[in-house]
Amino acid sequence: MSENAVIELRKVGKWYNSYHALRDVSLTIKKGEKVVVCGPSGSGKSTMIRCINRLEAHQTGHIIVNGTELTDDVKSVEKVRKQVGMVFQNFNLFPHLTVLQNLTLAPIWVRGMAKSEIEEIAMMYLRRVRIPDQAHKFPGQLSGGQQQRVAIARALCMRPEIMLFDEPTSALDPEMVKEVLDVMIELADEGMTMVCVTHEMGFARSVADSIIFMAEGTIIESGSPAQFFENPKSERTRQFLGQILEH
Protein backbone atom coordinates (compact mmCIF):
# COMPACT_ATOMS: atom_id res chain seq x y z
CA MET A 1 0.00 0.00 0.00
CA SER A 2 1.37 3.34 -0.98
CA GLU A 3 2.38 6.03 1.50
CA ASN A 4 -0.44 8.04 3.15
CA ALA A 5 -3.16 6.35 1.12
CA VAL A 6 -6.42 5.93 3.05
CA ILE A 7 -8.37 4.50 0.15
CA GLU A 8 -6.82 2.32 -2.45
CA LEU A 9 -8.61 0.57 -5.31
CA ARG A 10 -6.56 -1.88 -7.38
CA LYS A 11 -8.00 -3.21 -10.63
CA VAL A 12 -11.50 -3.37 -9.16
CA GLY A 13 -14.09 -5.14 -11.28
CA LYS A 14 -17.84 -5.42 -10.74
CA TRP A 15 -20.62 -7.05 -12.73
CA TYR A 16 -24.39 -6.90 -12.37
CA ASN A 17 -25.16 -10.24 -13.98
CA SER A 18 -23.73 -9.76 -17.47
CA TYR A 19 -23.49 -5.95 -17.19
CA HIS A 20 -19.90 -4.87 -16.59
CA ALA A 21 -20.26 -1.93 -14.19
CA LEU A 22 -16.64 -1.38 -13.16
CA ARG A 23 -13.67 -2.31 -15.36
CA ASP A 24 -10.28 -2.48 -13.67
CA VAL A 25 -10.72 0.71 -11.66
CA SER A 26 -7.52 1.73 -9.86
CA LEU A 27 -7.36 4.75 -7.62
CA THR A 28 -5.43 6.06 -4.62
CA ILE A 29 -6.77 8.68 -2.25
CA LYS A 30 -4.51 10.24 0.35
CA LYS A 31 -5.45 11.36 3.83
CA GLY A 32 -7.23 14.72 3.76
CA GLU A 33 -7.64 14.62 0.02
CA LYS A 34 -10.91 15.80 -1.57
CA VAL A 35 -11.83 13.88 -4.66
CA VAL A 36 -14.73 14.73 -6.92
CA VAL A 37 -16.02 11.96 -9.18
CA CYS A 38 -18.03 12.94 -12.21
CA GLY A 39 -19.22 11.40 -15.42
CA PRO A 40 -22.37 10.63 -17.38
CA SER A 41 -25.09 8.51 -15.81
CA GLY A 42 -24.35 4.81 -15.94
CA SER A 43 -20.62 5.47 -15.88
CA GLY A 44 -20.13 3.50 -12.64
CA LYS A 45 -19.32 6.46 -10.37
CA SER A 46 -22.01 5.61 -7.81
CA THR A 47 -21.15 1.94 -7.99
CA MET A 48 -17.50 2.75 -7.29
CA ILE A 49 -18.21 4.95 -4.27
CA ARG A 50 -20.64 2.36 -2.91
CA CYS A 51 -17.95 -0.30 -3.18
CA ILE A 52 -15.74 1.72 -0.82
CA ASN A 53 -18.04 0.93 2.16
CA ARG A 54 -19.27 -2.29 0.57
CA LEU A 55 -22.87 -1.34 -0.02
CA GLU A 56 -21.90 -3.10 -3.24
CA ALA A 57 -19.42 -5.97 -3.25
CA HIS A 58 -16.69 -5.89 -5.90
CA GLN A 59 -15.85 -9.16 -7.60
CA THR A 60 -12.28 -8.76 -8.76
CA GLY A 61 -9.32 -6.65 -7.62
CA HIS A 62 -8.70 -5.19 -4.17
CA ILE A 63 -10.15 -2.36 -2.09
CA ILE A 64 -8.16 -1.28 0.94
CA VAL A 65 -9.57 1.33 3.28
CA ASN A 66 -7.36 2.67 6.05
CA GLY A 67 -5.28 -0.50 6.01
CA THR A 68 -8.24 -2.90 5.98
CA GLU A 69 -8.92 -4.90 2.86
CA LEU A 70 -12.64 -5.35 2.14
CA THR A 71 -13.49 -9.03 1.79
CA ASP A 72 -16.46 -11.31 2.36
CA ASP A 73 -15.40 -11.39 5.99
CA VAL A 74 -18.03 -9.46 7.96
CA LYS A 75 -15.37 -8.17 10.37
CA SER A 76 -13.54 -6.27 7.62
CA VAL A 77 -16.81 -4.70 6.49
CA GLU A 78 -17.76 -3.68 10.02
CA LYS A 79 -14.34 -2.17 10.61
CA VAL A 80 -14.42 -0.14 7.41
CA ARG A 81 -17.99 1.09 7.93
CA LYS A 82 -17.06 2.44 11.34
CA GLN A 83 -14.47 4.66 9.67
CA VAL A 84 -16.43 5.69 6.61
CA GLY A 85 -19.47 7.96 6.69
CA MET A 86 -21.87 8.17 3.80
CA VAL A 87 -24.36 10.75 2.55
CA PHE A 88 -26.97 9.62 0.02
CA GLN A 89 -28.78 11.34 -2.80
CA ASN A 90 -32.15 10.74 -1.11
CA PHE A 91 -30.96 11.53 2.43
CA ASN A 92 -32.26 8.18 3.75
CA LEU A 93 -33.00 9.59 7.18
CA PHE A 94 -35.01 7.28 9.44
CA PRO A 95 -38.51 8.78 9.27
CA HIS A 96 -39.80 7.17 12.49
CA LEU A 97 -37.05 8.74 14.61
CA THR A 98 -36.55 12.38 15.51
CA VAL A 99 -33.60 14.29 14.09
CA LEU A 100 -31.69 13.85 17.34
CA GLN A 101 -32.49 10.12 17.48
CA ASN A 102 -31.29 9.80 13.88
CA LEU A 103 -27.96 11.22 14.96
CA THR A 104 -27.51 9.26 18.18
CA LEU A 105 -28.77 5.82 17.10
CA ALA A 106 -25.60 4.45 15.53
CA PRO A 107 -23.15 5.90 18.10
CA ILE A 108 -25.24 4.32 20.90
CA TRP A 109 -25.69 0.90 19.28
CA VAL A 110 -22.50 0.56 17.25
CA ARG A 111 -20.01 2.51 19.33
CA GLY A 112 -21.70 1.84 22.68
CA MET A 113 -21.64 5.49 23.67
CA ALA A 114 -23.67 6.84 26.59
CA LYS A 115 -26.87 8.59 25.51
CA SER A 116 -26.13 11.84 27.35
CA GLU A 117 -22.62 12.02 25.94
CA ILE A 118 -23.61 11.45 22.32
CA GLU A 119 -26.61 13.78 22.58
CA GLU A 120 -24.25 16.59 23.49
CA ILE A 121 -22.01 15.76 20.53
CA ALA A 122 -25.05 15.45 18.25
CA MET A 123 -26.27 18.92 19.27
CA MET A 124 -22.79 20.27 18.53
CA TYR A 125 -22.99 18.83 14.99
CA LEU A 126 -26.54 20.12 14.53
CA ARG A 127 -25.26 23.60 15.41
CA ARG A 128 -22.49 23.17 12.88
CA VAL A 129 -24.95 22.32 10.13
CA ARG A 130 -27.06 25.22 11.45
CA ILE A 131 -30.27 23.40 12.47
CA PRO A 132 -30.06 22.89 16.25
CA ASP A 133 -33.67 24.09 16.66
CA GLN A 134 -34.97 21.14 14.58
CA ALA A 135 -33.51 18.47 16.89
CA HIS A 136 -36.86 17.18 18.13
CA LYS A 137 -38.74 17.25 14.85
CA PHE A 138 -39.24 14.28 12.58
CA PRO A 139 -37.38 14.24 9.24
CA GLY A 140 -40.66 14.51 7.33
CA GLN A 141 -41.19 17.96 8.84
CA LEU A 142 -37.93 19.33 7.39
CA SER A 143 -37.10 20.70 3.94
CA GLY A 144 -34.86 18.72 1.61
CA GLY A 145 -31.85 20.91 2.31
CA GLN A 146 -32.37 20.58 6.06
CA GLN A 147 -32.76 16.83 5.74
CA GLN A 148 -29.51 16.52 3.82
CA ARG A 149 -27.70 18.59 6.45
CA VAL A 150 -29.12 16.27 9.13
CA ALA A 151 -27.82 13.34 7.09
CA ILE A 152 -24.34 14.88 7.02
CA ALA A 153 -24.48 15.48 10.79
CA ARG A 154 -25.65 11.89 11.30
CA ALA A 155 -22.65 10.55 9.41
CA LEU A 156 -20.30 12.88 11.31
CA CYS A 157 -21.59 11.68 14.69
CA MET A 158 -19.85 8.38 14.03
CA ARG A 159 -16.57 10.33 13.89
CA PRO A 160 -15.58 8.95 10.47
CA GLU A 161 -12.16 9.48 8.95
CA ILE A 162 -13.55 9.40 5.43
CA MET A 163 -16.81 10.83 4.08
CA LEU A 164 -18.48 9.54 0.93
CA PHE A 165 -21.06 11.72 -0.81
CA ASP A 166 -23.23 10.08 -3.47
CA GLU A 167 -24.80 12.94 -5.45
CA PRO A 168 -25.74 14.82 -2.27
CA THR A 169 -27.43 17.73 -4.03
CA SER A 170 -29.12 15.97 -6.95
CA ALA A 171 -32.46 15.50 -5.21
CA LEU A 172 -32.62 19.06 -3.89
CA ASP A 173 -34.54 22.06 -5.13
CA PRO A 174 -32.06 24.53 -6.64
CA GLU A 175 -32.40 27.07 -3.83
CA MET A 176 -31.35 24.45 -1.27
CA VAL A 177 -28.19 23.30 -3.03
CA LYS A 178 -26.06 26.09 -1.62
CA GLU A 179 -26.86 25.44 2.06
CA VAL A 180 -25.71 21.84 1.65
CA LEU A 181 -22.61 22.73 -0.37
CA ASP A 182 -21.65 25.34 2.27
CA VAL A 183 -21.65 22.63 4.94
CA MET A 184 -19.56 20.38 2.70
CA ILE A 185 -17.05 23.15 2.01
CA GLU A 186 -16.68 23.76 5.76
CA LEU A 187 -16.05 20.08 6.25
CA ALA A 188 -13.44 20.12 3.50
CA ASP A 189 -11.71 23.09 5.13
CA GLU A 190 -11.36 21.09 8.34
CA GLY A 191 -9.29 18.50 6.53
CA MET A 192 -11.79 15.64 6.16
CA THR A 193 -10.97 13.06 3.50
CA MET A 194 -13.86 13.32 1.05
CA VAL A 195 -14.99 11.40 -2.00
CA CYS A 196 -17.85 13.12 -3.69
CA VAL A 197 -19.90 12.07 -6.70
CA THR A 198 -21.44 15.30 -7.96
CA HIS A 199 -22.26 17.40 -10.96
CA GLU A 200 -21.66 20.64 -9.06
CA MET A 201 -18.69 21.82 -11.09
CA GLY A 202 -18.37 25.03 -9.09
CA PHE A 203 -17.89 22.98 -5.96
CA ALA A 204 -15.44 20.72 -7.78
CA ARG A 205 -13.39 23.65 -9.01
CA SER A 206 -13.11 25.36 -5.64
CA VAL A 207 -12.82 22.39 -3.26
CA ALA A 208 -11.43 19.34 -5.06
CA ASP A 209 -7.78 18.37 -4.94
CA SER A 210 -8.41 16.07 -7.82
CA ILE A 211 -11.23 15.29 -10.19
CA ILE A 212 -11.93 11.86 -11.59
CA PHE A 213 -13.88 11.50 -14.78
CA MET A 214 -15.53 8.13 -15.36
CA ALA A 215 -17.34 6.64 -18.33
CA GLU A 216 -18.42 3.09 -19.15
CA GLY A 217 -17.08 1.78 -15.87
CA THR A 218 -13.55 3.03 -16.20
CA ILE A 219 -11.62 6.07 -15.09
CA ILE A 220 -11.02 8.04 -18.27
CA GLU A 221 -9.07 10.86 -16.74
CA SER A 222 -8.01 12.23 -13.38
CA GLY A 223 -6.15 15.35 -12.40
CA SER A 224 -6.28 18.68 -10.63
CA PRO A 225 -9.30 20.91 -11.26
CA ALA A 226 -7.19 23.39 -13.21
CA GLN A 227 -5.92 20.73 -15.56
CA PHE A 228 -9.32 19.02 -15.77
CA PHE A 229 -11.30 22.10 -16.68
CA GLU A 230 -8.74 24.07 -18.68
CA ASN A 231 -6.86 21.34 -20.44
CA PRO A 232 -8.67 17.98 -20.51
CA LYS A 233 -6.65 15.22 -22.06
CA SER A 234 -9.30 13.01 -23.62
CA GLU A 235 -11.91 13.73 -26.22
CA ARG A 236 -14.58 12.01 -24.06
CA THR A 237 -13.90 14.45 -21.19
CA ARG A 238 -14.09 17.45 -23.50
CA GLN A 239 -17.41 16.21 -24.83
CA PHE A 240 -18.80 15.75 -21.27
CA LEU A 241 -17.58 19.16 -20.11
CA GLY A 242 -19.07 20.70 -23.23
CA GLN A 243 -22.43 19.21 -22.32
CA ILE A 244 -22.56 20.23 -18.68
CA LEU A 245 -20.85 23.62 -18.89
CA GLU A 246 -22.73 24.86 -21.93
CA HIS A 247 -25.52 26.54 -19.98
Binding site: L55, R81, F88, N92, L93, F94, L105, Q141, A155, M158
Partner: protein, 382 residues
Protein backbone atom coordinates in the same frame (compact mmCIF):
# COMPACT_ATOMS: atom_id res chain seq x y z
CA UNK B 1 -59.55 15.22 8.49
CA UNK B 2 -61.70 15.38 11.58
CA UNK B 3 -65.33 14.33 11.61
CA UNK B 4 -66.44 17.88 12.29
CA UNK B 5 -64.98 19.20 9.11
CA UNK B 6 -67.04 16.93 6.87
CA UNK B 7 -70.42 18.59 7.35
CA UNK B 8 -68.58 21.88 7.34
CA UNK B 9 -67.12 21.32 3.91
CA UNK B 10 -70.40 19.92 2.62
CA UNK B 11 -72.09 23.04 3.81
CA UNK B 12 -69.47 25.20 2.16
CA UNK B 13 -69.88 23.27 -1.09
CA UNK B 14 -73.63 23.52 -0.99
CA UNK B 15 -73.39 27.20 -0.19
CA UNK B 16 -71.13 27.86 -3.13
CA UNK B 17 -73.46 26.13 -5.56
CA UNK B 18 -76.82 27.57 -4.59
CA UNK B 19 -76.34 30.51 -2.34
CA UNK B 20 -79.72 31.55 -1.00
CA UNK B 21 -81.61 28.44 0.17
CA UNK B 22 -78.71 26.72 1.86
CA UNK B 23 -77.51 29.86 3.55
CA UNK B 24 -80.79 29.89 5.38
CA UNK B 25 -80.31 26.33 6.57
CA UNK B 26 -76.77 26.81 7.87
CA UNK B 27 -76.61 27.59 11.53
CA UNK B 28 -73.35 28.80 12.98
CA UNK B 29 -72.49 27.11 16.23
CA UNK B 30 -70.20 28.65 18.84
CA UNK B 31 -66.58 28.02 18.02
CA UNK B 32 -66.99 28.71 14.33
CA UNK B 33 -68.43 25.28 13.51
CA UNK B 34 -71.36 25.12 11.17
CA UNK B 35 -74.17 22.61 11.20
CA UNK B 36 -77.16 22.28 8.97
CA UNK B 37 -80.66 22.13 10.33
CA UNK B 38 -82.23 18.68 9.70
CA UNK B 39 -84.59 19.75 6.96
CA UNK B 40 -82.03 21.70 5.01
CA UNK B 41 -79.49 18.96 5.55
CA UNK B 42 -81.84 16.33 4.15
CA UNK B 43 -82.64 18.51 1.17
CA UNK B 44 -78.97 19.09 0.40
CA UNK B 45 -77.75 15.56 0.99
CA UNK B 46 -80.61 13.09 0.48
CA UNK B 47 -82.83 14.68 -2.15
CA UNK B 48 -80.40 16.86 -4.11
CA UNK B 49 -80.52 14.82 -7.33
CA UNK B 50 -83.10 12.52 -8.85
CA UNK B 51 -80.86 9.46 -8.34
CA UNK B 52 -80.25 10.36 -4.72
CA UNK B 53 -83.97 10.83 -4.14
CA UNK B 54 -84.65 7.33 -5.50
CA UNK B 55 -81.86 5.84 -3.39
CA UNK B 56 -83.13 7.62 -0.30
CA UNK B 57 -86.66 6.34 -0.82
CA UNK B 58 -85.43 2.77 -1.43
CA UNK B 59 -83.37 2.91 1.78
CA UNK B 60 -86.30 4.23 3.77
CA UNK B 61 -88.50 1.45 2.40
CA UNK B 62 -85.98 -1.22 3.39
CA UNK B 63 -85.67 0.26 6.88
CA UNK B 64 -89.46 0.49 7.15
CA UNK B 65 -89.87 -3.22 6.42
CA UNK B 66 -86.80 -4.48 8.29
CA UNK B 67 -86.51 -2.48 11.49
CA UNK B 68 -89.91 -2.94 13.17
CA UNK B 69 -89.90 -6.77 13.04
CA UNK B 70 -86.36 -6.86 14.43
CA UNK B 71 -87.17 -4.43 17.22
CA UNK B 72 -90.34 -6.37 18.01
CA UNK B 73 -88.50 -9.68 18.15
CA UNK B 74 -85.47 -8.44 20.07
CA UNK B 75 -87.14 -6.04 22.49
CA UNK B 76 -90.88 -5.48 22.49
CA UNK B 77 -92.20 -9.05 22.28
CA UNK B 78 -89.23 -10.65 24.02
CA UNK B 79 -89.46 -12.74 27.17
CA UNK B 80 -86.69 -11.73 29.53
CA UNK B 81 -86.96 -13.87 32.63
CA UNK B 82 -89.92 -16.16 32.01
CA UNK B 83 -90.23 -19.95 31.88
CA UNK B 84 -89.88 -21.96 28.69
CA UNK B 85 -93.67 -22.22 28.48
CA UNK B 86 -94.03 -18.44 28.52
CA UNK B 87 -91.39 -18.31 25.82
CA UNK B 88 -93.33 -20.74 23.64
CA UNK B 89 -96.42 -18.54 23.98
CA UNK B 90 -94.59 -15.32 23.12
CA UNK B 91 -93.93 -14.01 19.60
CA UNK B 92 -90.56 -12.46 20.43
CA UNK B 93 -87.15 -13.63 21.48
CA UNK B 94 -86.72 -15.82 24.49
CA UNK B 95 -83.87 -14.19 26.39
CA UNK B 96 -84.62 -16.21 29.47
CA UNK B 97 -82.68 -19.09 27.94
CA UNK B 98 -79.58 -16.92 28.36
CA UNK B 99 -80.46 -16.28 32.01
CA UNK B 100 -80.91 -20.02 32.54
CA UNK B 101 -78.02 -21.28 30.45
CA UNK B 102 -75.40 -18.52 30.75
CA UNK B 103 -73.22 -20.51 33.16
CA UNK B 104 -73.08 -23.40 30.69
CA UNK B 105 -72.36 -21.04 27.76
CA UNK B 106 -69.57 -19.23 29.57
CA UNK B 107 -67.89 -22.06 31.42
CA UNK B 108 -68.94 -25.28 29.66
CA UNK B 109 -68.39 -28.43 31.65
CA UNK B 110 -66.31 -26.81 34.40
CA UNK B 111 -67.69 -28.08 37.77
CA UNK B 112 -70.70 -25.92 38.59
CA UNK B 113 -69.76 -24.99 42.16
CA UNK B 114 -66.24 -24.03 41.08
CA UNK B 115 -67.24 -21.75 38.21
CA UNK B 116 -66.24 -18.64 40.13
CA UNK B 117 -62.67 -19.73 39.37
CA UNK B 118 -62.84 -19.48 35.55
CA UNK B 119 -64.90 -16.32 36.00
CA UNK B 120 -62.17 -14.74 38.10
CA UNK B 121 -59.49 -16.00 35.71
CA UNK B 122 -61.28 -14.46 32.73
CA UNK B 123 -61.87 -11.19 34.58
CA UNK B 124 -58.16 -11.00 35.49
CA UNK B 125 -57.18 -11.85 31.94
CA UNK B 126 -59.45 -9.26 30.32
CA UNK B 127 -58.39 -6.62 32.85
CA UNK B 128 -54.73 -7.34 32.09
CA UNK B 129 -55.38 -7.13 28.35
CA UNK B 130 -57.02 -3.76 28.93
CA UNK B 131 -54.13 -2.52 31.03
CA UNK B 132 -51.61 -3.71 28.44
CA UNK B 133 -53.29 -1.58 25.82
CA UNK B 134 -52.65 1.68 27.65
CA UNK B 135 -49.47 3.39 26.59
CA UNK B 136 -48.68 4.81 30.02
CA UNK B 137 -48.42 1.25 31.34
CA UNK B 138 -45.86 0.12 28.78
CA UNK B 139 -43.21 -0.26 31.47
CA UNK B 140 -41.01 -3.17 32.53
CA UNK B 141 -43.32 -3.97 35.46
CA UNK B 142 -46.03 -4.96 33.00
CA UNK B 143 -44.04 -8.08 32.14
CA UNK B 144 -43.88 -9.01 35.81
CA UNK B 145 -47.58 -8.31 36.21
CA UNK B 146 -48.34 -10.61 33.30
CA UNK B 147 -46.24 -13.38 34.81
CA UNK B 148 -48.17 -13.04 38.09
CA UNK B 149 -51.55 -12.99 36.35
CA UNK B 150 -50.71 -16.05 34.27
CA UNK B 151 -49.64 -17.96 37.37
CA UNK B 152 -52.83 -16.85 39.14
CA UNK B 153 -54.89 -17.96 36.17
CA UNK B 154 -53.17 -21.33 36.13
CA UNK B 155 -53.83 -21.79 39.85
CA UNK B 156 -57.47 -20.77 39.45
CA UNK B 157 -58.13 -22.95 36.43
CA UNK B 158 -56.23 -26.09 37.45
CA UNK B 159 -56.44 -25.78 41.21
CA UNK B 160 -54.88 -28.60 43.20
CA UNK B 161 -53.16 -26.07 45.47
CA UNK B 162 -54.32 -23.63 48.17
CA UNK B 163 -57.26 -25.91 48.97
CA UNK B 164 -58.72 -25.63 45.46
CA UNK B 165 -59.91 -28.91 44.01
CA UNK B 166 -58.06 -30.08 40.92
CA UNK B 167 -59.91 -29.56 37.63
CA UNK B 168 -58.25 -31.30 34.67
CA UNK B 169 -58.23 -29.21 31.54
CA UNK B 170 -60.49 -31.57 29.61
CA UNK B 171 -63.20 -30.17 31.89
CA UNK B 172 -62.47 -26.59 30.86
CA UNK B 173 -64.81 -24.90 28.45
CA UNK B 174 -66.54 -21.83 27.16
CA UNK B 175 -65.12 -18.33 27.36
CA UNK B 176 -61.81 -19.23 29.09
CA UNK B 177 -60.96 -21.62 26.25
CA UNK B 178 -61.83 -19.07 23.57
CA UNK B 179 -59.94 -16.26 25.30
CA UNK B 180 -56.85 -18.24 26.18
CA UNK B 181 -56.56 -20.02 22.84
CA UNK B 182 -56.91 -16.80 20.89
CA UNK B 183 -54.69 -14.58 23.04
CA UNK B 184 -51.93 -17.15 23.44
CA UNK B 185 -51.93 -18.14 19.80
CA UNK B 186 -51.85 -14.49 18.71
CA UNK B 187 -49.04 -13.74 21.17
CA UNK B 188 -47.00 -16.71 19.98
CA UNK B 189 -47.84 -16.35 16.30
CA UNK B 190 -46.83 -12.70 16.06
CA UNK B 191 -43.09 -13.07 16.78
CA UNK B 192 -43.05 -16.31 14.82
CA UNK B 193 -44.60 -14.54 11.84
CA UNK B 194 -41.92 -11.84 11.96
CA UNK B 195 -39.21 -14.50 11.88
CA UNK B 196 -40.98 -16.23 9.00
CA UNK B 197 -41.31 -12.98 7.05
CA UNK B 198 -37.64 -12.13 7.64
CA UNK B 199 -36.67 -15.68 6.75
CA UNK B 200 -38.63 -15.46 3.54
CA UNK B 201 -36.45 -12.49 2.55
CA UNK B 202 -33.22 -14.09 3.72
CA UNK B 203 -30.29 -14.37 1.36
CA UNK B 204 -29.60 -17.88 2.68
CA UNK B 205 -31.42 -20.29 0.36
CA UNK B 206 -31.98 -22.96 3.03
CA UNK B 207 -33.73 -20.58 5.43
CA UNK B 208 -35.68 -18.96 2.63
CA UNK B 209 -37.05 -22.19 1.20
CA UNK B 210 -37.88 -23.49 4.67
CA UNK B 211 -39.96 -20.37 5.43
CA UNK B 212 -41.60 -20.27 2.00
CA UNK B 213 -42.40 -23.98 2.28
CA UNK B 214 -43.95 -23.60 5.72
CA UNK B 215 -46.01 -20.55 4.78
CA UNK B 216 -47.30 -22.06 1.56
CA UNK B 217 -48.12 -25.36 3.28
CA UNK B 218 -50.11 -23.66 6.05
CA UNK B 219 -51.88 -21.32 3.66
CA UNK B 220 -52.79 -24.15 1.34
CA UNK B 221 -54.55 -26.22 3.98
CA UNK B 222 -57.85 -25.46 5.77
CA UNK B 223 -57.51 -24.69 9.48
CA UNK B 224 -59.80 -27.59 10.30
CA UNK B 225 -57.32 -30.03 8.80
CA UNK B 226 -54.39 -28.33 10.54
CA UNK B 227 -56.21 -28.74 13.86
CA UNK B 228 -57.06 -32.30 12.99
CA UNK B 229 -53.44 -33.06 12.12
CA UNK B 230 -52.21 -31.42 15.32
CA UNK B 231 -54.69 -33.36 17.37
CA UNK B 232 -54.79 -36.78 15.74
CA UNK B 233 -51.70 -37.20 13.59
CA UNK B 234 -49.11 -35.44 15.73
CA UNK B 235 -49.31 -37.86 18.69
CA UNK B 236 -48.55 -40.75 16.30
CA UNK B 237 -45.08 -39.29 15.73
CA UNK B 238 -44.33 -38.97 19.42
CA UNK B 239 -42.42 -41.71 21.24
CA UNK B 240 -44.41 -44.20 23.29
CA UNK B 241 -45.65 -42.82 26.59
CA UNK B 242 -45.15 -39.15 25.69
CA UNK B 243 -48.40 -37.24 25.38
CA UNK B 244 -49.02 -33.60 24.80
CA UNK B 245 -52.20 -32.11 26.11
CA UNK B 246 -55.06 -31.75 23.63
CA UNK B 247 -55.46 -28.04 24.43
CA UNK B 248 -51.77 -27.46 23.82
CA UNK B 249 -51.92 -29.33 20.51
CA UNK B 250 -54.83 -27.20 19.34
CA UNK B 251 -52.95 -24.09 20.47
CA UNK B 252 -49.91 -25.17 18.45
CA UNK B 253 -52.04 -25.81 15.36
CA UNK B 254 -53.82 -22.47 15.62
CA UNK B 255 -50.52 -20.64 16.27
CA UNK B 256 -48.74 -22.12 13.26
CA UNK B 257 -51.72 -21.45 11.01
CA UNK B 258 -52.08 -17.84 12.16
CA UNK B 259 -48.32 -17.25 11.94
CA UNK B 260 -48.28 -18.23 8.27
CA UNK B 261 -50.96 -15.69 7.39
CA UNK B 262 -49.46 -13.00 9.62
CA UNK B 263 -46.06 -13.57 8.01
CA UNK B 264 -47.47 -12.54 4.66
CA UNK B 265 -48.91 -9.36 6.15
CA UNK B 266 -45.56 -8.56 7.78
CA UNK B 267 -43.75 -9.28 4.52
CA UNK B 268 -45.93 -6.69 2.84
CA UNK B 269 -44.61 -4.15 5.31
CA UNK B 270 -41.01 -5.23 4.89
CA UNK B 271 -41.24 -4.85 1.15
CA UNK B 272 -42.68 -1.37 1.44
CA UNK B 273 -39.58 -0.04 3.20
CA UNK B 274 -37.33 1.77 0.70
CA UNK B 275 -33.96 0.13 0.06
CA UNK B 276 -32.26 3.35 1.13
CA UNK B 277 -33.29 2.74 4.76
CA UNK B 278 -31.40 -0.51 4.83
CA UNK B 279 -28.40 1.04 3.07
CA UNK B 280 -28.26 3.97 5.48
CA UNK B 281 -28.30 1.54 8.41
CA UNK B 282 -25.55 -0.53 6.77
CA UNK B 283 -23.45 2.54 6.07
CA UNK B 284 -23.71 3.56 9.73
CA UNK B 285 -22.32 0.18 10.71
CA UNK B 286 -25.48 -1.31 12.25
CA UNK B 287 -25.53 -5.12 12.25
CA UNK B 288 -28.34 -7.18 10.74
CA UNK B 289 -30.38 -7.52 13.93
CA UNK B 290 -29.81 -3.90 14.97
CA UNK B 291 -30.91 -2.77 11.53
CA UNK B 292 -33.94 -5.07 11.59
CA UNK B 293 -35.08 -4.24 15.12
CA UNK B 294 -34.34 -0.50 15.12
CA UNK B 295 -34.95 0.62 11.56
CA UNK B 296 -36.84 -1.86 9.41
CA UNK B 297 -39.42 -3.51 11.71
CA UNK B 298 -40.57 -0.34 13.51
CA UNK B 299 -41.46 1.16 10.16
CA UNK B 300 -42.73 -2.01 8.50
CA UNK B 301 -45.04 -3.05 11.35
CA UNK B 302 -46.63 0.39 11.64
CA UNK B 303 -47.51 0.20 7.99
CA UNK B 304 -49.30 -3.13 8.29
CA UNK B 305 -51.30 -2.61 11.50
CA UNK B 306 -54.62 -2.97 9.60
CA UNK B 307 -53.88 -6.36 7.99
CA UNK B 308 -52.23 -7.61 11.18
CA UNK B 309 -55.26 -6.77 13.29
CA UNK B 310 -57.42 -8.27 10.58
CA UNK B 311 -55.54 -11.51 11.13
CA UNK B 312 -55.84 -11.22 14.92
CA UNK B 313 -59.60 -10.88 14.60
CA UNK B 314 -59.68 -13.77 12.21
CA UNK B 315 -57.68 -15.88 14.66
CA UNK B 316 -60.05 -14.98 17.49
CA UNK B 317 -62.99 -16.24 15.50
CA UNK B 318 -61.09 -19.28 14.24
CA UNK B 319 -60.90 -20.56 17.80
CA UNK B 320 -64.51 -21.68 17.33
CA UNK B 321 -63.18 -24.39 15.00
CA UNK B 322 -61.39 -26.23 17.82
CA UNK B 323 -64.68 -27.98 18.41
CA UNK B 324 -63.52 -30.35 15.63
CA UNK B 325 -60.92 -31.80 17.99
CA UNK B 326 -63.33 -32.01 20.90
CA UNK B 327 -62.51 -28.78 22.71
CA UNK B 328 -65.26 -26.83 24.37
CA UNK B 329 -64.98 -23.22 23.23
CA UNK B 330 -67.64 -20.56 23.70
CA UNK B 331 -69.55 -21.46 20.55
CA UNK B 332 -69.46 -25.20 21.29
CA UNK B 333 -70.71 -24.56 24.81
CA UNK B 334 -73.48 -22.43 23.33
CA UNK B 335 -74.41 -25.26 20.97
CA UNK B 336 -74.54 -27.68 23.88
CA UNK B 337 -76.81 -25.23 25.73
CA UNK B 338 -79.36 -25.55 22.91
CA UNK B 339 -79.63 -29.31 23.23
CA UNK B 340 -81.77 -29.16 26.39
CA UNK B 341 -85.19 -30.46 25.18
CA UNK B 342 -87.03 -27.93 27.34
CA UNK B 343 -85.31 -24.97 25.63
CA UNK B 344 -84.57 -26.51 22.24
CA UNK B 345 -86.77 -24.12 20.17
CA UNK B 346 -84.73 -21.12 21.28
CA UNK B 347 -81.36 -21.91 19.72
CA UNK B 348 -81.41 -18.69 17.68
CA UNK B 349 -81.26 -16.58 20.84
CA UNK B 350 -78.27 -18.54 22.08
CA UNK B 351 -76.40 -18.04 18.81
CA UNK B 352 -77.27 -14.34 18.78
CA UNK B 353 -75.86 -14.11 22.28
CA UNK B 354 -72.70 -16.05 21.39
CA UNK B 355 -72.30 -13.87 18.31
CA UNK B 356 -72.61 -10.79 20.47
CA UNK B 357 -69.84 -12.06 22.75
CA UNK B 358 -67.55 -12.60 19.76
CA UNK B 359 -68.51 -9.22 18.37
CA UNK B 360 -67.64 -7.40 21.60
CA UNK B 361 -64.10 -8.77 21.58
CA UNK B 362 -63.55 -8.33 17.85
CA UNK B 363 -64.95 -4.80 17.83
CA UNK B 364 -62.73 -3.87 20.78
CA UNK B 365 -59.70 -5.10 18.83
CA UNK B 366 -60.80 -3.14 15.80
CA UNK B 367 -61.25 0.10 17.75
CA UNK B 368 -57.97 -0.40 19.54
CA UNK B 369 -56.14 -0.89 16.27
CA UNK B 370 -57.49 2.42 14.99
CA UNK B 371 -56.05 4.18 18.01
CA UNK B 372 -52.79 2.29 17.65
CA UNK B 373 -52.54 3.24 14.01
CA UNK B 374 -53.05 6.92 14.74
CA UNK B 375 -50.51 6.86 17.55
CA UNK B 376 -47.91 4.85 15.62
CA UNK B 377 -48.05 7.05 12.57
CA UNK B 378 -47.68 10.36 14.34
CA UNK B 379 -44.34 10.89 12.65
CA UNK B 380 -46.01 11.08 9.26
CA UNK B 381 -47.87 14.21 10.25
CA UNK B 382 -46.33 17.45 9.13
Amino acid sequence: MSKDSIPQSTAALAASFEEEPSQASVATLPGGMTALKPFGWAKNNLFNTRANTVLTLVCFAILWFAVPPVVNWVLLNAVWLGTSDECRAAAGACWSIIAVKHRLIFFGTYPYEEQWRPFLACALFVAMLGVSGVRAFWRPWLVGAWALVLVAMGVLMWGGVLGLTHVANDKWGGLPITLMLSVFSITLAFPLSILLALGRQSSLPAIRSLCVGFIELMRGVPLVSVLFMASVMFPLFLPEGVTIDKLLRALAGLTLFTAAYLAEAVRGGLQAIPKGQSEAADALGLGYWQKTMLIILPQALRMVIPPIVNQFISCFKDTSLVTIVGLYDLLTAATVATTDPEWRPFFAEVYVFAGLMFWIFCFSMSRYSQWLERMANRYNRR
